[in-house]
């Protein structure tokens, strides 16, 4: 199946409660798959085509505020429209999954695969000082698996998680092994698990729950920001993922993620056949980024070439 379809199917299977999206090439298959598959009949999952990307991300805010497992997807120009919402989601510490099937930019760009949303993704993207958990699949298999992973991290840390795919992986058809269907939480289970913060209705036994990113008292807002930074530090310490291919004896190591990493993997193979000791380091989480690991190479390796597609993005990490 296509990468886009695999992500939709994985969302159904990991017990997501709601998807809210808007069509844009090259990710429309996500919404189309949901509408054809009718998960409301399979698991009770809600699916809605919103009137805009802005409405969709705010539906995510509303749904996530109630402790439900919700996701949206879009492609670059649409993801730009979602940035305000992402900032609010990060500020209000809401768990959710957002998929970006990246296309060329800036502006309307084109509909070809690209990695040019790298900075927007790993630096926050909207206003304010915040991070998203960013994970980049390089295959259809990972596209499916990372939906589950992204939800796990999102709920573990109450942080929006971004799956950074692109037009190649989204459209590409590959074999994929899907995990078994997991049960959706019942309303009662949601209240039990997330009732300490989620807006599920104020019962007599607790104070009311408020979801907001507003705090007009400067000291309190500063404390909130410090707490966010502490959380990000914890994620940086615990959640970095990467893959190394032939790095141990390599003289040179290519650093590339997603589609580029697949191309580079072939490059490594061809180079090795010619006796060139080339390796590949593939960051899987782009935030948190495996920068410590890459810094270690500096002592032993001769150089780190980077593919053009990610050049502007990566060079600033290393220069």
């Amino acid at each position: 199946m296509k990468g886009n379809e695999a992500m939709a199917e994985a969302a159904i299977r990991c017990g997501a409660d709601g998807y809210f999206g808007y069509p844009i090439t090259p990710q429309s298959e996500v919404l189309e798959y949901f509408m054809a598959e009718e998960p409301w009949n399979r698991t009770g999952m809600v699916v809605l085509q919103a009137e805009s990307e802005i409405a969709a991300i705010n539906m995510i805010y509303g749904g996530a505020s109630t402790g439900k497992k919700v996701l949206t997807s879009s492609s670059s120009p649409g993801i730009s429209l979602k940035q305000e919402g992402l900032s609010y989601l990060a500020g209000a510490e809401l768990p959710c999954v957002v998929i970006n099937v990246v296309r060329g930019g800036p502006g309307l760009g084109d509909i070809q695969p690209a990695q040019s949303d790298y900075f927007q993704s790993v630096k926050g993207g909207g206003h304010g000082d915040y991070k998203l958990f960013v994970i980049a699949p390089s295959s259809v298999q990972e596209s499916a698996d990372f939906v589950k992973k992204a939800f796990d991290i999102a709920f573990k840390y109450r942080i929006p998680a971004l799956i950074l795919s692109d037009g190649a992986i989204g459209q590409m058809m590959e074999k994929v092994e899907l995990f078994e269907q997991e049960e959706r939480l019942t309303d009662e289970q949601v209240i039990e698990k997330y009732g300490s913060w989620a807006t599920t209705g104020k019962t007599a036994d607790r104070e009311r729950n408020i979801i907001t990113s507003l705090d007009l008292i400067p000291e309190r807002l500063e404390d909130h920001n410090k707490q966010l930074q502490a959380k990000y530090k914890k994620i940086e310490e615990n959640e970095i993922m990467f893959e190394e291919i032939h790095c141990d004896d390599a003289d040179h190591i290519i650093v590339a993620y997603g589609t580029s990493a697949r191309i580079c993997q072939k490059t490594v193979q061809l180079a090795r056949e010619k006796g060139i000791k080339l390796g590949l380091m593939r960051p899987i989480t782009l935030w948190p980024f495996p920068k410590k690991k890459i810094a270690e190479y500096g002592d032993t390796k001769k150089g780190i070439p980077t593919p053009d597609e990610v050049l502007t993005a990566f060079e600033k990490h290393f220069m």
């Binding site: 809600v46 809605l48 969709a56 439900k68 807006t199 209705g201 408020i210 507003l214």
Partner: protein
């Protein structure tokens, strides 16, 4: 209501509108089953005063939040509380589409014809010739457009079940408005479609008047343009 002191200007209608909304939810024994959405604007802090679970939305997006909440929790009462800048300017798309989908939510719309929170700028609902900080010589409809009757506009949509326009500056008005809000909550809860209650209110600070004078001005100027009464009942437009 919580014990928190209201942040609204003395004389403003927001406090009364908050109170009757909460009284209705109490009367319906719905406090434990209600999720409210606060806007951006003067009532951005509504969640400080309404003693229920609440979410605070980005500017104009409250109906999108409410859409998701109601669809994910169909057994709950869901409402938004929005001002005219939030609902009829930046949030026009979210308002119209939530109405058009017939979401089973309640929208309480406070229309005071001005941006109160930011200091009295022109709103989509500002009357012709009405002065504001961004229309200091009065709203020139030739260049600044006409006041938007969004309530009449959304009443045309098939997904909308009940639309009414009320006021809360007199005891009689408060009683009628409360009755209308109660009807809105009951009918949206019965999945009849979106129920929309506009409350035309004063903004004595923004209008630069003392409270009583602002109420007289509202009766003489706002009500002729925004006439009170039901606009759509049981899915049928009221012909006038």
């Amino acid at each position: 209501m919580t014990d928190k002191e209201l942040s609204y200007c003395p004389g403003c209608g927001h406090g009364t509108a908050h109170r009757i909304t909460m009284e209705v939810l109490d009367d319906l024994d719905a406090i434990k089953d209600t999720i409210g959405i606060a806007p951006v604007g003067c009532s951005v802090l509504a969640y400080e005063f309404m003693n229920i679970d609440m979410q605070q939305a980005a500017h104009g997006r409250a109906p999108a939040l409410a859409t998701a909440v109601k669809r994910l929790w169909p057994s709950k009462h869901v409402f938004t509380y929005q001002g005219d800048g939030d609902l009829a300017a930046i949030g026009t798309a979210e308002t119209i589409h939530a109405c058009n989908r017939g979401e089973n939510i309640v929208i309480i719309f406070i229309n005071n014809g001005i941006y109160g929170m930011t200091g009295g700028q022109m709103a989509p609902t500002t009357l012709p010739q009405m002065k504001s900080s961004t229309s200091p010589n009065g709203r020139d409809t030739g260049t600044m457009g006409h006041p938007l009757k969004i309530t009449e506009l959304i009443a045309q949509l098939p997904g909308v079940h009940f639309v009414t326009r009320q006021a809360v500056h007199t005891p009689g008005g408060v009683r009628k408005a409360k009755k209308a809000i109660k009807k809105a909550f009951e009918q949206s809860f019965e999945n009849k479609g979106l129920c929309f209650v506009e409350i035309v209110s004063n903004c004595n600070s923004g209008w630069k008047m003392e409270p009583r004078a602002s109420n007289v001005w509202m009766e003489e100027n706002m009500f002729p343009y925004y006439p009170l009464g039901d606009i759509k009942v049981n899915g049928e437009l009221i012909s006038k």
